[in-house]
């Protein structure tokens, strides 16, 4: 049998599942290729090429769900996956909330950029390595990857929904420390996705600023004693805040369990009026944003919190059916934009008598109470409106529900890394402690 196209595979899977007795079924299949350069400890170490296939199928049989995933696309493997999926579903428990997307409009998306330029990617990576050696001789690149990824994916279900998406993009990620004799800074990192290789890696987003701050972090101090103060969270660290809100108060799990502190708060004020938080896969700064959800709906940008009011939960179709709320217009856990405020970053810093500029947070997984504690990494003390010493062994503790209720300021400036678009945010009432 000749090699099937992804659309043919999807059709074949859905027909097989229906023949096996599934009343509803869906299928996601993809073929992709990735080429990646690796650097470790300031030296090139590896070039790797990955050819990947994927097939994930879902069947509803008597209201019971089964999901089987494989990474082979030959007929025998597909037939076995179909059989396994039906077996799983038969063994499951019926749940009326399980469903698949209804037919609305099928679409094909194509975000190809004309293929890879591997020689240019190598040159960009080599230039970055040499630039670091020249401009920041105290920086050790613990690990760098630069990659080109391409692939095509198809979603189809038994309601007639079919989406396809062809995409290509570059990506780079770096982990680095400053090292001077026996002194080391904390590690830090930066990553960005991009559609072209026009810009030097070092000049992307906050990359250079974070590297410079690592050099400044070779000499650190602890805070003198425990105090309650302000913390300016930079875009490099801010996912910690928004991911916690999404996980603990807006997700399927938290709402089905009923542990979300916002379970009854839809349409009410949960945050300071300055806060507008959106999930924006179509934002021009987002590279390779989602075009359709895993449930089979086209993805659109969505307001989650608008002027402090909770506009939407981050619910899948199942979560929506289970809780009686609306599903989110996209998968919502990536491509977060926090709308810029009206205060310049420099003025925001001037407004802090005693606090921290928080660049990285190493802390516990978020708990449903909203209590958060952890270590301030790659961070600096702010004293009398000025950023002063780099910090070590400094812990921060706060309740996230409390701090977002009264946000001191949100900056005019935003930073993007091809995935999110975030400003600097100043929060108050945070316990900051040294030894």
């Amino acid at each position: 049998m000749s090699v099937m196209t992804l659309n043919e595979i999807a059709e074949y899977v859905l027909a097989s599942l229906k023949k096996a007795g599934a009343e509803k079924a869906s299928c996601v299949t993809a073929r992709g290729r990735k080429e990646e350069f690796n650097i470790e400890a300031n030296k090139f170490t590896l070039l790797r090429t990955l050819f990947d296939d994927a097939l994930s199928i879902k069947a509803l049989y008597g209201g019971r769900k089964g999901v089987a995933s494989i990474n082979k696309l030959d007929k025998d493997s597909i037939d076995k996956a179909v059989e396994d999926c039906i077996t799983l579903a038969k063994a499951g428990t019926p749940d009326e909330a399980e469903d698949i997307a209804e037919f609305i409009e099928n679409k094909n998306f194509n975000r190809s950029i004309g293929g890879s330029q591997m020689d240019k990617l190598f040159t960009r990576t080599k230039d970055f390595l040499e630039q670091i050696k020249d401009e920041y001789p105290l920086i050790m690149l613990e690990g760098v990857t630069s990659a080109f990824s391409s692939g095509r994916g198809v979603y189809a279900n038994s309601n007639g929904v079919v989406f396809s998406d062809e995409s290509e993009c570059y990506g780079m990620g770096s982990m680095f420390v400053a090292k001077d004799g026996e002194k080391s800074s904390s590690f830090n990192g930066y990553g960005e996705s991009m559609l072209s290789l026009d810009k030097a890696f070092l000049d992307m987003g906050m990359h250079r600023a974070l590297i410079e701050e690592s050099v400044r972090s070779l000499d650190t101090r602890m805070v003198d004693k425990k105090f309650v103060g302000k913390v300016i969270v930079t875009p490099a660290c801010e996912d910690m805040i928004w991911d916690t809100l999404l996980d603990c108060f807006m997700s399927d799990r938290s709402l089905i369990e009923g542990t979300s502190r916002w379970k009854d708060a839809l349409g009410t004020k949960v945050a300071d009026s300055k806060l507008t938080m959106r999930s924006v896969p179509h934002h021009p700064s987002v590279v390779a944003g989602e075009r359709y959800t895993g449930d089979g709906y086209e993805s659109f940008d969505a307001d989650l919190i608008k002027n402090g009011v909770l506009e939407a939960f981050a619910l899948s179709l199942y979560g929506a059916n289970k809780t009686g709320n609306k599903r989110t217009k996209n998968t919502a856990f990536s491509n977060i934009e926090v709308v810029a405020g009206d205060v310049a970053l420099a003025d925001m810093i001037k407004g802090v008598d005693k606090g921290i500029l928080l660049n990285r947070f190493s802390g516990a997984s978020p708990s449903p109470s909203g209590d958060v504690s952890g270590v301030a990494k790659n961070s600096f003390l702010i004293e009398n409106g000025k950023v002063t010493d780099a910090l070590s062994e400094t812990m921060v503790s706060f309740n996230i529900v409390d701090i977002i209720a009264d946000i001191v300021a949100i900056s005019k400036e935003q930073a993007t890394n091809g995935s999110s678009i975030l400003p600097w945010c100043c929060f108050d009432g945070i316990t900051i402690s040294g030894k």
Binding site: T49, A89, A91, T93, S184, R253, T259, S365, P368, S397
Partner: protein
Amino acid sequence: MLQDLLSVHKAEFKDHTELRAQVNTTKRVTLLLGNMVSNSQSEGGGVSARVYKGGTFGFASGAEYSPESVKNVIAAATDNAGFMNTHVNLGEKPLPQAKAGKAELKTKVENNVSQSMLIDFANTLDGIITKKYKNLTARTVIADFLGMEKLLVVSDGADSHWYQPRSTVYVFMTAETSDGVPVELYEPFSSHGHFNEIFTDPNLLTNKLDELYEHLMKKREGVYSKAGLCKCVMHPDLAGILAHEAVGHTVEADLVLGGSVAGHNLGKQVASDLITMLDVAHTFNGKTCPLPIYVDDEGVTAEDAVLIENGILKGFMHSRETARRFDVAPQGNARAFAFNDEPLIRMRNTVIMPGKSKLDDMIASIDDGYFLVKTGNGQADSTGEFMFSVELGYEIKNGKLGQAIRETTISGVAFEMLKTVDMVSDDMVWSISGFCGKKQPITTSMGGPAVRCDINIGGR
């Protein structure tokens, strides 16, 4: 079971080459308040080749495992190695040779772990929890199986066929404080072996679940810990993550080359002389470890790595490449998670050796401090500064346990904090439930005794 399509190519290898076929199989059932929110299985496998030439590697992988695809990945990896050698040209010496040999399967590859077993177990356990523990506002039961099979052929060193089945049940319990704030605790039950061998009867977990529920009821009344440096006793459940996060990552040789503070501490006192720490290959005190590694993914026969001996930093964990740079022998720490991952330096069974003290005496010896019982996640740093979460702990007042504390985080600088250890208990606990993240996830095992030390605790 994987067929050997690899050995036929061994005679063709010109440069150092690793050829690996691998299949990872997972099965998972999740019950959220009794709702089956996941009922899934996955199988991901294929073949990869890595070729070393003059100081850099070329790697390639494909999902298809056939005679033709094996040839293709060897050719692609060789091309990539050639590209790197031409463009980078480090001119490094060859990798150190490893002892030749062949490690046969020590655990039988079985595919008879049915989804029904996981579903029945999870449903029965969920029923027990619902009936027995009345003050819960939410509960989650997860039954999980991971099987990893690898077939490795190398140009020099040991070929191997390895299989690791890991079975885990996670139970999450949630209750509310008097003012309606949710508090949560979880317990992982995990072991090397197939699900049906490890989890024969859900009722056998109830003693541990009784304890979990009792702790949760106390945590509902919990108080915030007082932020700052404190004297504490870490339960043996925390010692493993102490070994893994505080020291283990710091002494991985790739991170040492990348700037870790451990680099200039080799041969120096970095801990109290009560501390001896190993990364065990496969056998500890005559018993097979939770994660036995006999040959790593570079074809190196695995041996125990002594990291700290009586407080002195003795060595690092290596790949062949870092072993060459440090001029030592590799000990089998290079492992890959999936077929399309290249081997990285990873911990295996990282353990702090037990001491002579009794846990009760250690608690009784503290006037004002904390007994830290359960942890969640953790993270290491190049500076040696580590943190890990504390999901459950108690105040110690005048040698006795007091109120439970709410979730918090502890941190310290490993080589300073370990010098404050002045009591080590005579028992130990192993843990194998989690994954370690470092470019790729990987299964690791960790263990140790209770320790008394000074540590920085977050709080109010």
